[in-house]
């Protein structure tokens, strides 16, 4: 038990330092590709923190969705939007104290939150009156969530909750994913110019019609070439091909 606590502490600080370092690198590194890879470091450290927080399923989902999917999509975006991907495509010319206002806002935000965290009358007992860190292990193991985690990492419990208590948000999330997929396809589709978009189906139609026309003229009115060509010309005119 003593060793486990020590391991817990060491892992927490290790993952915390990796996470903060990676996040700082995401914001401050000059090369945007390195930023994306440092974002991957941050995501993997967060997955480690999830394991420490008794959420192995969320850790796996974090690695799958963020670590694999999102990082690759972001690198695709970098490659598609930069001429020289290893340099920040934006360039370096910026106003002199551009960091001042965002820095003040972010620092004030962080200071306010940390100060409110450290203020002594901050009271969590309204939530459920229960801090697991202060609860005896024998009592903690009777809780349903802890039992689910011990049994199979909480997968069964999460699945049951998703399909009973949180069924409507689950379905809404599926609709949202479908909409996001359709929206992404429509938004990133290459826009053809007006003439090309209208001309292309006509050409193919004309080719098909010409082939059909040739066949029918050969089989039906073999000797009457003039009429067939006239028909073909009029067909061409109605199709609008010159």
């Amino acid at each position: 038990m003593e060793n486990l606590t020590l391991l817990n502490q060491i892992s927490f600080w290790l993952f915390a330092i990796m996470m903060i370092g990676g996040a700082l690198g995401v914001v401050f590194h000059k090369s945007i590709v390195y930023s994306a890879l440092l974002l991957l470091v941050t995501f993997l450290s967060i997955a480690g923190l999830f394991v420490l927080l008794n959420a192995p399923f969320i850790a796996a989902a974090q690695i799958l969705v963020y670590g694999v999917g999102l990082t690759i999509v972001l690198i695709f975006g970098i490659m598609l939007t930069g001429d020289k991907p290893f340099v920040d495509p934006v360039g370096q010319e910026r106003p002199k104290r551009y960091w001042l206002i965002p820095g003040v806002i972010a620092f004030a935000f962080m200071g306010f939150l940390l100060w409110s965290l450290l203020s002594p009358n901050y009271n969590f007992t309204a939530v459920n009156g229960l801090f697991l860190e202060r609860v005896q292990p024998s009592i903690a193991e009777t809780l349903p969530g802890v039992q689910a985690i011990i049994a199979d990492g909480g997968v069964t419990h999460i699945g049951l909750l998703l399909f009973s208590k949180y069924l409507l948000p689950f379905e809404l999330a599926s609709v949202l994913l479908l909409l996001a997929m359709i929206g992404a396809i429509i938004l990133s589709k290459r826009q053809f110019p007006e003439e090309e978009a209208e001309g292309e189906p006509h050409v193919s139609q004309d080719l098909d019609g010409g082939a059909m026309e040739g066949k029918s003229c050969c089989s039906l009115n073999e000797g009457n070439g003039n009429l067939a060509s006239e028909n073909f010309d009029s067909e061409k005119e109605t199709l609008g091909v010159h």
Partner: protein, 104 residues
């Protein structure tokens, strides 16, 4: 002091969220801005799971919420990148300062 508790996680996610906030406010590259939004969402995710673990272990609702945030952020990133690529076709840049058509 050295026992890892809820406060450690809250402080950590506060720092992470603030880094993401600074990045969103200060970065001019649109892709870096998307990355910083992901950092902020991840900070919220850690907070949800930490509160679930330390405060209320009667069920795993916090983990469910973090799954929903995961879903929404994946959708947000894909649509955001699609918008960015459409913008890049128009403007051939990823600079946030150049997307100023609505600025008077």
């Amino acid at each position: 002091m050295f026992n890892i508790g809820l406060y450690h996680y809250i402080a950590l996610t506060t720092i992470l969220f603030s880094i993401g906030l600074y990045g969103v406010l200060s970065s001019r590259n649109a892709i870096r801005l998307l990355m910083c939004i992901e950092l902020m969402l991840n900070a919220v995710n850690i907070n949800l799971v930490a509160f679930n673990n330390y405060v209320n272990m009667n069920d795993l609702s916090g983990q469910i919420f973090s799954i929903f945030i995961l879903t929404v952020s994946a959708a947000e990133a894909s649509v955001g990148l699609a918008i960015l690529i459409a913008l890049y076709r128009r403007r051939s840049t990823a600079d946030m300062e150049r997307f100023n058509l609505l600025k008077w």
